[in-house]
Amino acid sequence: MDFDLNEDQQLLAKTVADFCKTRSPVSRFRELRDAEGIGWDPASWQQMGELGWLGVPFPEAAGGLDGSFIEAAVILEQLGKNLVPEPYLASVVLGGYALALAGDEDQQQRWLAPMLEGETSLALAWAEAGARFDPTRVSCTATPAAGGFSLTGAKRFVLNGHAADQLIVSATTPEGLALFVVNADAPGLTRTTLGLIDGHRGAHLRFENVALEPNQLLGAAPAANVLTRVLDYGAAGAVAEGLGVATAMLDMTTGYLGTREQFGLKIGSFQALQHRAVDMFIEVALLRSMSLEAMVRADEDGPERAAAVSAAKHQLGIGGQFVSRQSVQLHGGIGVTDEHDIGLYFKRLQALSTICGDATHHAQRYAACLRSQSS
């Protein structure tokens, strides 16, 4: 049993942390948020590609570095600490793993490889109205037509859907659920850009008889298992990033408690606030434990993967939210201004706890794991 990152991973964490500190302080996110545009910077994205961060978990054949999901999680934690706005979770984890798990070599060469270099970005379009967090309740249909498919339907809240060059879209086919690669400029595709609660952007998508070539089908239907695996990567990624967010909030809050004075005393000397800070510390520690387990098990294909990922995502939704809400509370008045960064973290954590399934969804899923264990 060994919970240490290996030396390369430790070095990676340090490199990303240094990069974020010097090149991507929170003010950069704030500027991009407040500006017109896609909300992130393609030049930074390309830099990340050059540094190898976008390809680190993927096979060398696809242009990756042949690492594991652990490396992606290590990167995400650091990005979370600094609210880095580039779409790592959306494009590398959700879009990237869909291509890596379901795509053949040609498809990976064509769509994954350029993303790994930061030249393009991806998005996974799976959420639909009325389906809540169930990826298998899909109304989008891909009807066989003219040697390929014709795609019709709608997807909602597609992370990075407004900016992605390719969209990986789930749809039902006569053979069952399938995943397709759709170009952003495909005729019949309408994208509506949305502002999201965390200051990121996303899109609602509408497909009206979008014509797809056979090689836009990723792997074979049914693709429910592969989609579930991708969403588990997404959930574990959200946990890793959320751990970074929560860790930063805890640090900011204990820092504030140690400097802010009221009634002639540092407010961090008040025992009720101290104990609150300890309770936050507890939740962050448990979140870290669960993130460690989830990042390791995400690469496994056994029954423990779902359990570990769901438990981790649940802890983000419960423990992480506790940390987030108490951080705002303990900052007092400035905590509820837009000026102070703590509110930006609060909103990012709120979004991350929804993305890829909220706490209740994952509690239900964990209950199902327990049931199947005992039967």
Partner: protein, 394 residues
């Protein structure tokens, strides 16, 4: 014991309800149903509708232009406004400085200020908190120097809600640096158009421009604008603080949150294919919050019952701020969770999410302030521990 309102009171409620549904402009009614955040202009439009009816200041005595409501009628009136979700009138004139002017003001001050507060012609804001005097209000530093006929005011106020729209600000200022920090504070009424005064709006976490930082650079304030005795402002401040606490425990907002959450939970299909509300686990979560709201409501009624008898509400009602704001947040959190993916939306264009969900995110964020303002819940607990439970000081 009798837990019901009298038939007369119930008839009054029906009259108020009917009038509101008649008088509230349709565009505001739409926002009300979605628990939207109103703009200042919208508040003032509604203020004027109420003022025309004579109902803008339900708690003012008739002699100052109030409607002469009984305690129960006041309560019912406010409850109906809240349930309808009408724009919450700015409290700074009507609820805060108005009653203080009535109690502590000179006749000249009363005549000068009260009618325009009532009509909405003049809008007020509150200058209490400073960057280093929030919970610890008595540490405030903004100074007012005596120059004979006038004071010269220097310093900064913060969290001055809607100062950018205000005509007047009432401020706690330090007129005497000697002695205990609570003494030496005075209460000044200051024209927002004074030279040297600047209000810089700040965005809130919900992205609305609700607060300002307000700067005073050699602002001259006539002595006639001193309310109450020189160096005696702390008495006025305390009178207000107590008042403010009973303001915020009000359950109407919680009820609207829960109504909205229930509406959405009827539409949202859960992972098991049924509407969320048909899932026993969700139903029990709703029930738990509804039951706590009921207990809160009953505790408010107990306070009302005391007031009706002309008694001071018992110590147990000191909890209302804590319980009420905690409920506001929990109900908002539930509403967010019920929305599933839609909770990712932020000030969306029409159609992005169902209309009734459009304002949930910003309101949820804004409600983080509920446990902070008007004496944070931690401060409330300190007060209850000391003054009611009489636990020892360190």
């Amino acid at each position: 014991m009798d837990l019901n309102f009298t038939p007369e009171e119930q008839a009054f409620r029906a009259r108020v309800r009917a009038w509101i549904s008649e008088a509230l402009p349709e565009d505001l009614a739409v926002k009300a149903r979605a628990s939207a955040q109103f703009t200042h202009d919208e508040l003032m439009r509604w203020h004027k509708v109420l003022a025309a009816k004579g109902w803008a200041a339900p708690a003012w005595p008739k002699s100052f232009g109030g409607p002469g409501f009984s305690a129960a009628e006041r309560f019912i009136f406010n409850e109906e406004l809240e349930l309808a979700g009408t724009p919450p009138l700015s409290p700074f004139g009507l609820v805060m400085v108005g009653p203080l002017i009535q109690r502590f003001g000179t006749n000249a001050q009363r005549e000068r200020f009260l009618p325009k507060i009532l009509s909405g012609e003049e809008v007020w804001c509150q200058g209490y908190s400073e960057p280093n005097a929030g919970s610890d209000l008595a540490s405030l530093r903004m100074s007012a120097e005596d120059r004979g006929d006038y004071f010269v005011v220097n310093g900064q106020k913060t969290w001055t809600t809607y100062a950018q729209y205000a005509d007047w600000i009432f401020c706690l200022v330090r007129t005497n640096a000697a002695g205990k920090k609570q003494s030496g504070i005075s209460f000044l009424l200051i024209d927002m158009r004074s030279k040297g005064l600047e209000a810089r709006p700040m965005l809130t976490i919900s992205h609305s421009p609700a607060f300002c930082d307000t700067f005073f650079d050699n602002v001259e304030v006539p002595k006639a604008n001193l309310l109450g005795p020189l160096d005696g402002g702390w008495t006025l401040a305390k009178a207000l603080l107590g008042h403010e606490r009973t303001l915020v425990g009000s359950p109407g907002l919680v009820r609207r949150w829960l109504r909205l959450a229930r509406e959405i939970a009827t539409e949202q299909i859960g992972d098991d294919g049924r509407p969320l509300l048909e899932d026993p686990a969700w139903a029990r979560r709703f029930a738990a919050l509804e039951m706590r709201l009921r207990a809160h409501q009953m505790t408010i009624y107990r306070a009302l019952s005391e007031q009706q008898k002309g008694r001071h509400p018992g110590p147990e009602t000191s909890i209302l701020k804590i319980v009420g704001t905690d409920l506001i947040q929990r109900a908002g959190e539930l509403c967010m969770e019920v929305m599933g993916h839609d909770a990712l939306a932020w000030l969306p264009d029409p159609g992005v999410v169902p209309d009734n969900e459009a304002w949930v995110g910003p309101s949820f964020c804004y409600d983080r302030a509920a446990t902070i303002y008007a004496g944070s819940n931690e401060i409330q607990r300190n007060i209850i521990a000391k003054h009611i439970l009489q636990l020892p000081s360190a």
